[in-house]
């Protein structure tokens, strides 16, 4: 399952973050690394972006970016 498919309250352990370019680096720097716990907190009123919780803080990212984050089954 991918982070973008999670509903508010859902989440899990990160299995993989796709992309080795700048975006992948930025996501990982912000704490979205393999093995980290992550969950979707809420979705913005217009359906995008998402608010997620990772490393005990709140981060906002778009569904397109959350799609790169694969969760452990």
């Amino acid at each position: 399952m991918r982070l973008s498919e999670c509903r508010p309250g859902q989440g899990g352990k990160i299995a993989r973050v796709e992309g080795d370019g700048l975006l992948g680096q930025r996501l990982m720097e912000m704490g979205l690394i393999e093995g980290a716990e992550v969950k979707v907190v809420r979705v913005a009123p217009l359906g995008d972006p998402l608010e997620i919780e990772v490393q005990n803080y709140q981060l906002s990212l778009r569904k397109a970016e959350a799609e790169r984050v694969e969760l452990e089954p």
């Binding site: 995008d48 709140q58 970016e65």
Partner: protein, 755 residues
Amino acid sequence: MSTAEQATPSRESARSAQRVRRVAIIGNPNTGKSTLFNALTGLNARVGNYPGVTVEKKTGALAPGLELLDLPGTYSLAAHSPDEMVAVNVLLGGLDGEPRPDLVIVIADASNLQRNLFLATQVLETGLPVVLALNMVDAAKQAGITVDAEKLGAALGVPVIPTVASSGEGVQKLRDAIQVYLGTAPPQPKWTWPEPLAREIGALTQALSVDRFLAARALIDEGGAAEDVLCKKHDAARAALAQARARLKAAGQPPAKLEIQMRYAWIAQAIGPCMDRHPTGARLTDRLDHVLTHRLLGTLIFVALMTLVFVTIFVAAEPFMDQIEAGFTWLGKRAAAAFAGTSLEGGTLQSLVVKGVIAGVGGVLVFLPQIAFLFCFIALLEDCGYMARAAFLMDRVLRFCGLSGHSFIPMMSSFACAIPGIMATRTISNPRDRLTTMLIAPLMSCSARIPVYGILCDTFVPHEPLHGFLPALVFAAMYFVGILTAIPVALILKKTLLKGPTPPFVMELPPYRMPLLGSVWRRVWDASKAFTVRAGTVIFAITVVLWALLYFPHSKEIAVKYEDQRAFLRAEDLPEEETKARLAELDKQEAGAHLRNSVLGRAGHCIEPAVKPLGWDWRIGVAALASFPAREVVVSTLRIIYDLGPEEGGGAEEEGDGANEAAADGAAEAPPENADLAEKLQASTWPDGRKVYTLPVALGLMVFFALCAQCAATLVTIKKESGSWKWAVFTFVYMTALAYAGALLTYQVGTALLG
């Protein structure tokens, strides 16, 4: 204190022998870095620019001979935005004329330790002494998080000082620690780099004989600041870096991923024993966000809040503006009284002082209260954390024009002034997004439009329906004109000139916090000061030039002609009353003749055919021309035009010795600012007696000023930030074209509908 005492015996020689030592402060955004900077330096910060780049450089005195340097907020030393590049460059000593700091303070938010320590571990590798300020320990405790500073310090190998920058707690201990650790050996990082990466970094360090930190950062951050520095030092660096990266990628070991995983893994095991975490129920931030980012409620609150901000600026600033207006009216009267009876009475100097300087500068400074209120709101919204939520709510909307929520804050700031807005685009790392935001930022109605909207709304929009709120609504509508125009402009730019993939939107949503009055006040003070200085210098100069363009050549021929007519009149044997009336009539005609003959008057007449389709007469044309340096100048131009110039044709009964009389009338009714000008505008007519300022003309004029690029300072800022005049010229051309089209459409459609 201790340094001061040490320095006393031979202060002079110590000063000259020893250079000023420097401490840099670095940290994630939203950690209270500015507050700590203020707490450490007091109120003596100096703000400037780094050489060659436009990133703001803030320094202050920490102690005698010790300077504190505020680095831009960053999450990582893998720098990609201009702000982050500067932070890294300072730490590397890569900026010309910027020696490496002698010590680095890393500020970390105690309630968000993992991510904050990520940057801290990077800074620990710079080879500089480090002191960690563990900030906001009070907020962390409230959230159920306690950190053992001593254990953390032992784990990291650097002193850790718990602080609450907002209350000053721990600040003295931090000062002491800085003094103790200055000049000591740098910390030894306790983590081990993963094998393939460590090998490549080691090889680069040896081959290029450079610092290990520089080699590591250059290898990891492709296209970053460290790579630049390294490649400037060594011709061989580029090839060596490319080969090393290729080897790592071939082995399935991307360097950035290895580095980041190493750090987070080390942090997780290191802080375990130092941190106690018992989250206390649902956090306040979470409960607030539940409402403030709610699908329906959140959106309604957002719209209501933005409306409230602008209505408040319009209403709450008014009493203050009346005071300033009254002050300048009094000053004008005093000045005129001082000239009375002297040989200078009615001469060029009196005209310059009273009608040029006092009326001109006063007409601009009157908007100071509105600017102060707006900056107060922006500072409050930013400091309490709502700005990030606004970006969260608006991202989908901004994405519609190819931008991201990151552009929201520069755009929002542009409502105060496009200059700080354009400067705020530095936080947008994608260059195409940054440029697009910069080019549309001036379409947001800035505070300089407030005078134009204000006087036209008050004067020409009927107050009757809606209990007097109609002018305020039209005022608000002008903001939407700018916003609604910006969307297609951005969209077209992103589809044509600035084409490229949509950039990421990764943004922290910081916890809500009580804004600090001190820092809000500082923002308001800085903005007000900047505006006042601008009014006192640039706008003052422009006002004087404008007065001159309207006064000179002040032809002798005209003066002599009217003097002859006066003499002729006096020689006639008419009743005294009639002589007086006819003399007054001659004075008006003479003033009119001088104005029509003036440099600007002629220019205005020349462009009248071009602006007539907008419903403008030559005076509006002159005012629009004259407002090129800054929009707010249009008000002082109109003031000068109407103070000096009698009405042509029908409006003569409005004449009289102008400003003072009208202002005195105004004071009795207590109308808003520029009441005297408002009266003149209402009375202004075409030669055939039709009113110049009908509602469609006023609306068209507002649309023109909503969309035009009449602000030299903005254009200069765009040039500076984009690095090329090309974009400044582009902005001026496209905005002027839009402004003309918008005013034409408004006037023609408005006239057709309203008659």
